[in-house]
């Protein structure tokens, strides 16, 4: 059972619904579902779910994230990122693990996995998920 996907449906999540616009620094400590528009910054210590119709021009920080909409900005996910087929990210992406569905678009640098620093000082990518799983 995929708890990651199911938790996105949590009834206690904060929802920025379709037709609602947020501008500025939106910081939450729980799960957040965004179906509307955000310009600025989004930060949550919970699961961030970006719906298919969501449009974000924002810097994103979350513990976990499921993305099905469009993000223009840097995305930093501390743990697990799931990119749905409709996801479009224009910006750099950093996460611990990632699941990417066929059709997802990323324009930017991807850094997946903590990895140990190499001699050159670059992170070593150690994916622990099969792509598309």
């Amino acid at each position: 059972m995929d708890n990651f996907s199911n938790s996105a449906q949590s009834s206690s999540a904060t929802v920025i619904a379709r037709g609602v616009k947020v501008e500025g620094e939106f910081v939450s400590q729980g799960d957040v579902v965004i179906e509307g528009e955000v310009n600025g910054r989004v930060s949550t210590s919970g699961l961030l779910t970006i719906g298919t119709e969501a449009k974000l021009k924002a810097e994103i920080t979350a513990d976990d994230a499921v993305v099905a909409g469009t993000i223009e900005g840097m995305v930093t996910v501390k743990k697990r990122l799931e990119l749905k087929a409709t996801a479009k990210i224009i910006g750099d992406l950093t996460c611990e693990t990632a699941t990417v569905e066929a059709g997802a678009v990323v324009h930017g640098k991807c850094s997946i996995g903590q990895g140990k620093p190499t001699k050159e000082g670059k992170a070593q990518v150690m994916p622990n998920e099969k792509p598309g799983a």
């Binding site: 929802v15 920025i16 619904a17 037709g19 616009k21 947020v22 939106f26 910081v27 400590q29």
Partner: protein, 294 residues
């Protein structure tokens, strides 16, 4: 322990003959319950605040408003600052706030007053005025600025509600918790046409919780505050926790039924203490929760 001293303030509209019977029955009920005190009547050129201050100086400890929700509104802007308990005897419509407080319309309201089930509730502030229930702005592009950190608004117009107690716009069932120290901001975008004849798709609503903020608009907006209307482009919002002592009925709905109340109390309709609902914080004492409707 001081003895409760009542004052009954009747709204001006009750001088209409059509209210004679209900007032007669109410007075009889109050007398049978040994609830008596000074009586006064609001009038067009009589300052409600001066009247209330005069009664308090005479030792009144419970100010009972007789009328409807608009009567309550006439004293709400100053009464929370007074050392009195507010009672409410609704005898006419609109009485949505009465229903949320669990007070029946008519002579039966006297029984609620006699039971003296007193709750201490939060009151909202819009600029320098208190409000008990909600601020409603419909068909607006106004935004709510949350402590200068972010602004949230309907992208293409909609309704914005800032609630402390229940819901004036809907069924009357409580959807805000007036004992949590937070205002509930609800944003409901305009319904979109689904393409069919006159068929509109109801949009999900966004709900956030704030301690303070500001309503900002680029054009003057009409804000319905409890039972009166204010116009402007900027309004400061705030909440004053535990500000007002008010007599409530056993059927009061001071918090959303599905969240704060024990199941046993709901089914038995027994007196209960509203529990604090868990709200995810967003920093600066702000919590957010949203429900999807429609």
């Amino acid at each position: 322990m001081r003895r409760d001293s009542y004052a009954f303030i009747y709204d001006d509209f009750l001088s209409d003959r059509k209210y004679e019977r209900v007032l007669s029955e109410l007075d009889a009920r109050l007398a049978s319950l040994d609830l008596n005190g000074r009586t006064a009547r609001l009038a067009m050129f009589r300052n409600a605040k001066d009247l209330a201050e005069s009664l308090v100086s005479q030792g009144v400890t419970t100010m009972v408003m007789v009328g409807n929700d608009q009567t309550l509104d006439k004293v709400m802007w100053f009464l929370p600052d007074m050392d009195v308990t507010l009672g409410y005897l609704p005898v006419a419509e609109p009485s949505r706030i009465a229903r949320i407080l669990g007070i029946p319309n008519g002579p039966e309201a006297a029984d609620v007053l006699a039971a003296r089930l007193i709750e201490t509730v939060d009151v909202g502030r819009l600029d320098d005025r208190y409000f008990l229930s909600e601020v409603a702005m419909e068909h607006t592009l106004a935004a709510v600025d949350v402590e200068g950190r972010y602004r949230i608004s309907p992208a293409r117009g909609g309704s914005v509600f800032i609630r402390n107690l229940g819901s004036m716009a809907e069924s009357g069932e409580a959807s805000a918790d007036c004992k949590d120290g937070l205002l509930e901001v609800i944003i409901r975008p305009e319904a979109e046409s689904s393409g069919g004849f006159f068929k509109k798709v109801k949009q999900p609503e966004t709900r956030i919780f704030i301690e303070k903020g500001e309503i900002v608009a680029s054009q003057p907006v009409e804000a319905k505050v409890d039972s009166h209307v204010m116009n402007g482009m900027r309004f400061k919002l705030g909440i004053v926790p535990n500000k007002l002592k008010i007599v409530t009925g056993r059927r009061r709905q001071l918090a959303p039924i599905s969240e704060g109340l024990p199941a046993a109390a709901k089914s038995a309709n027994l007196p209960f203490t509203t529990g604090r609902t868990e709200k995810s914080g967003t920093g600066g004492g702000i919590g957010i929760r949203t429900s999807l409707r429609g």
